[in-house]
């Protein structure tokens, strides 16, 4: 970097100046690194708005994709498909995750809990594409068809450890005295948990669930060979269904300009959905922190 400080008649003063200079240089470097870390978000958002906003018209939300070669069309089916998949994922991920979180926070011994927490965190790190393979073997092969059920299941399984950990965290925050008060009144344990503890922590649990939804809403890899994608409306959940991320992927790697335009529009819509969920959660939990 810089040349070493020259030997001077008063080395201590020079060394001190060098040390101060170095400290300032490092501060600046770290500040620049921080900017570099934040930059991608702004670049991505900028290009999403620039490329996607113009393509995001009424047709986008109301029409089916047009066949290859024709311009226009939209992603209505993918929008609905994503909602359907998220609903199914929620049906699996939310009850199992919340109940698991309840067990960790309210029952269970330290040793068992530590083990379950450990595996839940490890499970969170399993690549999403692997969930696609597992569900493919579990639901697609036996029923011999790609289906909305399989896609929903893949996302749902991914949600379980996410929801479980956040539920546990908020339940632990509920003061012990609430539970003791319930016990003193002779209320059954399960009622204490569901009526008192969960009600107190409801906002936190909902927040955690929304974060989990935001996380799986953008997942593409687990849907590739479960939900598969579909250019038409899905009339039967046992058949392939379209989803926003799948459609964006398919359009992005296609050779047609109009499809690229659609991909940007879809990405913008998906991003708005996910960022919206995240910002909403942030607002809600800031509320909670204040009160």
């Amino acid at each position: 970097m810089e040349p070493r400080p020259p030997p001077s008649p008063q080395p201590t003063a020079a060394v001190a100046a060098w040390r101060r200079w170095k400290s300032r240089a490092m501060s600046l470097t770290m500040g620049l690194c921080t900017l570099a870390v934040m930059a991608p978000l702004f670049f991505v958002l900028y290009f999403l708005l620039r490329e996607g906003a113009s393509a995001l018209d009424w047709n986008f939300f109301t029409q089916l994709p047009k066949p290859t070669g024709e311009t226009g069309g939209g992603m209505a089916n993918a929008l609905v498909g994503t909602m359907v998949l998220l609903t199914m994922a929620g049906l699996i991920g939310v009850p199992v995750g919340v109940l698991g979180g309840i067990y960790l926070a309210e029952y269970g011994s330290d040793r068992v809990n530590r083990l379950i927490r450990f595996w839940a965190d490890v499970l969170n790190g399993v690549p999403s594409i692997v969930w696609g393979m597992v569900v493919y073997a579990l639901l697609v092969v036996p029923f011999k068809t790609f289906s909305a059920y399989a896609g929903g299941a893949a996302l749902g399984l991914m949600m379980i450890p996410l929801v479980m950990r956040t539920t546990e965290e908020v339940l632990i925050l509920v003061p012990q005295s609430y539970r003791e008060a319930g016990l003193a009144l002779g209320i059954a344990r399960w009622k204490i948990v569901t009526v008192i503890v969960m009600k107190t922590a409801l906002k936190g649990i909902v927040t955690g669930v929304l974060v989990a939804f935001a996380r799986v809403a953008g997942e593409t890899a687990p849907l590739l060979f479960t939900a598969l994608g579909n250019n038409f409306w899905n009339r039967n959940l046992a058949e392939p269904i379209a989803a926003m991320p799948l459609q964006i992927f398919a359009y992005a790697i296609s050779p047609y300009d109009d499809w690229h335009r659609q991909a940007w529009a879809g990405a913008l819509a998906l991003m708005v959905l996910i960022l919206g969920l995240n910002l909403f959660v942030r607002l809600v939990s800031r509320d909670r922190a204040k009160s």
Binding site: S23, S27, G31, C33, T34, V37, M38, P40, F47, L48, E51, P95, G97, L99, G100, I102, Y103, R114, R117, F118, W119, D121, V122, L123, N124, G125, P127, S128, I129, V130, G132, M133, V134, A137, I160, M164, G186, I187, A188, R189, W190, V211, R215, T220, A221, L224, F225, L228, P245, I248, F249, I253, H260, A263, W264, A267, M271, I274, L275, N278
Partner: protein, 321 residues
């Protein structure tokens, strides 16, 4: 626990029913154990899905570099190499940046600045992989191809890693996009670690007359070294499994090349690209075996990271999100 009540109340009291409590607890236990069941499920499905390939190729599968669906010959080496190289590139970029950012946030930034920056980084973590991929294809790749890679080649071309034709889609581009995607987790875990460094540590260094940077280097970084290493390992775990964005920018060619400008292929990408169209049983089994390799890698790395972070920071802080 509620027993004493029934003993002290008059006999007219209806008996305490235990079964709702017991069954509720049991259902909750089952839900909690689903995590273990899922791990077993993942392992079993991948194992049973790959049996044909395991039987046919044996351990040689891992070291053969031929991937040829036409003649039904499969070897995993290009994908394992691609996954490792792209993840390492990502780590080399993301770890220094992430740790520096975490240091900036915990040690230097004015308090009012911290929360907005943290929010931005958390939102970065929320961007779906496929959107990074889309951005990578249409924005990052052309920029790298036209402006960055030629410069790198002319400056660093004496190294074998920066030679050869430039296509744009490349191992380096894949590593770069993975770096962006693992930055948030490395930053946030590093921040947790740095925050757990006791203030006494810093004050002692200041008392000795250290400058701000010296405090960070001597008191903070050396104290937090192991935890930061854990953060990097956690980032590695994420990087290994990144699928969509990498698939879209890495070029998807099962060759092993010294040049980072050459296209590559990763375990996750080949599964994403070829799984739905795998025609023969052996082909599908080989893809499952790739999945098995991927899962073993990621679970081992993640478990290591959890252990490192947990022993360091006590229960709870090793949380991944």
């Amino acid at each position: 626990m509620s027993k004493p009540i029934s003993e002290s109340t008059p006999p007219a009291q209806r008996p305490v029913r235990r079964w709702p409590d017991v069954s509720f607890r049991l259902v909750a236990l089952l839900a909690a154990l689903s995590v273990v069941a899922l791990i077993v499920l993942v392992g079993w499905e991948l194992y049973s899905g790959s049996r044909l390939a395991v039987a046919k190729f044996g351990p040689g599968f891992l070291v053969h570099s031929r991937w040829d669906p036409v003649s039904d010959e499969y070897g995993a080496l290009p994908f394992i190499a691609g996954t490792l190289v792209s993840s390492l590139i990502a780590l080399v970029i993301a770890v220094p940046l992430g740790v520096a950012t975490a240091l900036f946030l915990t040690e230097m930034a004015p308090v009012r600045l911290r929360q907005p920056v943290i929010t931005v980084i958390e939102l970065l973590a929320a961007v779906p992989s496929v959107i990074f991929g889309l951005w990578g294809i249409f924005v990052m790749i052309p920029f790298l191809r036209d402006h960055v890679f030629p410069v790198m080649q002319s400056v660093l071309g004496f190294l074998p890693f920066f030679r050869g034709p430039i296509y744009g889609v490349s191992m380096l581009a894949g590593g770069l996009i993975v770096a962006i995607m693992i930055l948030p987790i490395i930053t946030s875990v590093s921040r947790e670690i740095l925050r757990s460094v006791p203030n006494l540590q810093r004050e002692a260094a200041y008392a000795l007359g250290a400058t701000h940077w010296e405090v960070i280097r001597i008191a903070v970084l050396s104290y937090a070294r192991r935890g930061l290493f854990g953060a990097a390992v956690l980032g590695l775990g994420r990087a290994l499994g990144e699928t969509m964005a990498v698939t879209m920018v890495i070029g998807n060619r099962p060759d092993i090349s010294l040049s980072l400008f050459a296209p590559g292929y990763t375990l996750a990408s080949v599964i994403a690209n070829e799984f739905a169209e795998a025609t023969s049983d052996l082909y599908l089994n080989s893809l499952f075996e790739l999945g098995l390799v991927l899962v073993v890698l990621t679970i081992a790395v993640n478990a290591l990271a959890q252990l490192m972070l947990r022993t360091l920071a006590g229960p709870g802080t090793g949380k991944v999100n």
